[in-house]
Symmetry: C2
Subunit: 173 residues, 2 copies
DNA sequence: GATATTTGATATGGTCCATAACAATTATCA
DNA sequence: TGATAATTGTTATGGACCATATCAAATATC
């Protein structure tokens, strides 16, 4: 709906579009009023999500893992022996779109597709040793550089409350 | 990263991928364990955002307004006389991408571009009478069918706390 | 054993986001 | 003043993500 996301380059920083008020003897237009927008759930939710993803990508730059890829590795680690359909649908990823994603992870030797002996249509997914190692490092980066930032910003109790409310929305809205 | 969004058709409902456990005498594979995923800020944030947008679109079906379009109308109403660059950048929309969006709103007679007399490069944005009327109806729909749902789900106090925390993340993360 | 279903895959189109480049206009400043 | 730079809206274009239809191989169903 609203913002950019690359996190790297210029893009479009929202906030005060009228720049920084008065710097020198410039006329400088007044900053825009957000008004009711700042109370709109969808608006603030989307903005927060973009900021969080942006930060996630920065934290993961050394491992080159996107949020989606991280979630796949996490889920495969927790549920070894599942096939593509099961992993994809649990994450809300459509099977056709999951193919290229797995191609990527497999080409980087982070996970592997194994033909199931029970059902030779299925590809069982497992993490490779490298995949496990990378995921372990990713978890540490996320914990120390990403999630920790929430505690600094909101405090432990609020952080937990936030996650709880978002989960509730995700599941019951 | 994760889910779908159309809200209308089939798509891919996340949650329990192993369907509903045991219905009849089917073998039915076990439900997958989300594990640490359910504590990941980005994951739960994205999921909540998709659900909220989905619900927003349903509530606005009669007016055919997307969250982005709604935010534009809100901002133009609150800040009449601003040009495209100012409105777009405040919303984090890149100017090239704002053109088609305005073409749409203008073709529906919801807002209008007016050549500025001060700076003939600029297009001043204003809501048409129809735009004001539609926005008024949109606000009511959002308040009664969308935002009200948050109160039912979280309660007034929690709802305000949530908005506050998301704003903080959006601005300070 | 014929038919239907499931799985992974391909092809394809839509939407959103980002960059480069352009003409018209305005600002800068030598 | 006049040459140059910057700004505004716009177009063209490519990438990322999402969704649907369709397919062959394998399995399930009857």
């Amino acid at each position: 709906m609203t913002v950019s996301r690359t996190a790297e380059k210029s893009s479009e920083k929202p906030a005060d579009a009228g720049k920084g008020r008065k710097d020198a003897g410039e006329v400088q237009t007044e900053a825009l009023q957000l008004g009711e927008l700042s109370e709109q759930l969808g608006y603030v939710l989307k903005r927060a999500q973009l900021k969080v993803f942006e930060n996630f990508l920065r934290c993961m730059a050394s491992l080159q893992l996107t949020p989606a890829q991280f979630s796949v590795l996490l889920l495969v680690e927790k549920n070894p022996g599942r096939n593509q359909t099961e992993i994809a649908s649990t994450l809300g990823i459509l099977r056709p779109n999951f193919v290229a994603m797995l191609d990527n992870l497999e080409s980087r030797d982070l996970c592997a597709r194994i033909r199931s002996t029970n059902d030779r249509r299925s590809h069982i997914l497992v993490l490779t040793d490298k995949g496990k190692a990378v995921l372990a490092r990713a978890k540490k980066l996320v914990a120390t550089k990403h999630e920790a930032r929430l505690n600094d910003l909101l405090g432990q109790a609020n952080r937990e409350a936030l996650i709880g409310m978002l989960s509730k929305i995700a599941n019951e809205f």
